[in-house]
Structure formats: C-alpha cells, structure tokens
Amino acid sequence: MSQQAFSALQAFLLKSSGLSLDKEKKYLVEARLTPVIEQAGLSDLGELVIMIETDKALAKKVIEAMTVNETFFFRDRQPFEGFRSAILPELVKIRARQRKLRIWSAACSTGQEPYSLAMIIDEEARTMAGWTVDIIATDIAESVLKKAKDGVYTHFEAQRGLPAQHLVRYFAKRKDNWVINQNIRARVDFRQQNLMSDFSQLGQFDVIFCRNVLIYFAPDQKRDVLNRMAQRLAPDGFLVLGAAESVIGYSSEFKPHSDNRVILTRRAATSNHEAARGGASLEQARAAK
C-alpha cells in the first residue's frame, strides 16, 4: 500500500464521513477494502482512490466498508441500565404533561442498539401507558440499515448481549436465524444519515445515543457533531456516549449526569433535572400517577 494512496484515502474518508484514519489503521484498510478492490476489478488501493473521485457508487461502497462497526444487543450494559433506571424515570416526570418522547440512536449499525431501547420501552409499558415514544435510528451505511430494518439476526448475534428471556419474548426462530417481533420492529424508524451532513431535519430529541462513533472522528468533526447534536437535544434531554468517549475539550454544552460518566445532560438544564430526580425511580413515577 503506497503512502500516497493511503493519504488520499485518509483525506477522502475525513471529508465524506468524518472518519479519522490514523497510520496504525493500515491493517484495517487492507482487511476491509481488499474485497471492494477485487470486486471492482481493480489491482490496488492506488487505483481505488482514483476511481472513487468520479465513481459515486464505488465511493459509497468504500465509506460503508470503512465505517461499519460491530455492535450487539445491550452492548456495555451500563448505558442501558442508566436509560432504564435514571433517564426514563426523570423524563417520565419532566414530560408527564406531553407524554411524548423522541429518542435518536445515531450510527445504529445493524439495529441492536435501537432495538435494545425498544425492548426496554416495551418492558416499561405499564409506567408508560398512553405515551408516544419515537425511536429514530440512523446510520451512514445503507447495507447495515437494510439488515436493521429486516430485524433478522444470526444464531451468534442473537446470543450476544441478549438475555434468553428477551430472546424468547421478543424474537421468533426462522430456520437458523432469529427475527425480531413486529411490535418491537414497528417501534423503530430507520433512516439513512451521514453525521457530517446537516441533521436538523430529524427534529428535536429527548435522548440521543451516540456511542462508539465519535472515537473515529477527527477533533474538528467531533466538535462540529457534538455542537450540532446539542442543538437537536431538548434543553433537559440526555446524551449517551460510548465508554471510551468524552466531550471534554470538544464541547462545553454538556455535563455529566450525576456520577454516570457516559450519560450527559445539557449544561443549562440543572433545575429541571434536580426537580425530577430526588431519588427518582419508575416505581415512584408509577406511584405519582
């Protein structure tokens, strides 16, 4: 792989998808782009970077191959426990009058994250009877969105992170695969969205899950995406980041929510949260109704 071709690819990915590719990632380029190069009948990366200047379909394939990342149900647990035990109880209080929540799963890949959120919402149906909860899930890559919309998972995917109780409750077996139930699938609205492009048309959200994606962005792109996300987040909404991610040095719009490092709130929203908190739990929210 020539240095020149690698640099051209770096520049292309940064501009088109915000992906910041460092020199140590040459192995990743080789692993992910070799099939694309072969399929296009090209001989090496040098030819590929020339072709993607003019061939939009090929450029799209390169972006998809480089940006698709692994995911699994209830990945890292903590953010989902936080969603169930901290975020939802607070929002149930704060939005008691509107009874409407909008959640964005940004860079949702093959759908495990938004479906995990949908399963939690379903489990809390008793507390949230009469509520409208919209889950919008976006990704840059159409190939993963198709899989997400289909909701069909392999034997391995269906077992990773997903408790057996959830598997039998929310999935049906079809041949060797597991298909997510229609009632959960219908809760999630999948859309194609490049985070580098304007996403204001998605509207305003109460919760944004944006996990394990900012780590791939260059500092300028991180700043830009975080500040535009702050504009999409309700003043008393929540931003949930990945375990290795932080806003420090990139955005002053957010602050940690209590002692949970990956759950953040907007800086201006302290009073609403403090009023809602006070040992908030779904049990208390139920009792308050």
Binding site: Q159, R160, P163, A164, V168, A172
Partner: protein
Amino acid sequence: MKNVLVVDDSPMIRRIAKKILEELNFKTFEAEDGQKALAAVNETMPDAILLDWNMPVMDGLEFLISLRQLPNGGSPKVLFCTTESDVKHITKAMQAGADEYIMKPFNKQIVKSKFEEVGLC
C-alpha cells in the same frame, strides 16, 4: 476463583468449554452425564453449571430439576448449553430453573456474554 461444573457427554465440547472458561478466569471440573453431575455437586456445589441437554443416563433437564431440590441446589447459576435451539426448549429450561441458555455452536464471546448476564463475569 469461581468454580464451574461442565456437564456434557462430548469430550470435545468439554475441552472447548474448559478452555474458554479458564480464559475467563474460572476453575472448572467436569461430568459426562446428569447422574455423574449430581454426584459431583454433592461433593462440591459449584458457582455455575454449564449444562448439556441430551446426555445418556440422565439428561440435563432431569439433572436441573434434581439439583434445584438439593439443599443449596438453588445457589449455582445454571446455563444450558445445547443444540436444542427453539423457543419451546428455552422456555422449558427457564421454567425448570435455568438462569441462562446457550445454543450450540458457541464461541468465547457468547459464553462471556451469558456469564456476564448471570453476574459471574
């Protein structure tokens, strides 16, 4: 270090499971059917049991039902690990007192994820 009893009539599965569990910092011991597993838990009650379903002499479900009737038999986390991979079997296992369910073939990620689910990883 937590103890896991691996119950499976296939020596190959026992070997693979043992390797994965040891990589996850568990101590393992083995039994090749339900009856030998009952004898083993009477000696030492493990923290968890990785349990095959179809075995000669006594199958996994019969073993689980007998285990849960023993004094302290409620304490080990029981994770089925079987080729039976339909909703009916999973439901039956959970109703009989299993804590988790692994469908074969499995890999380290699945085993780790399921042991995390029962709070042992």
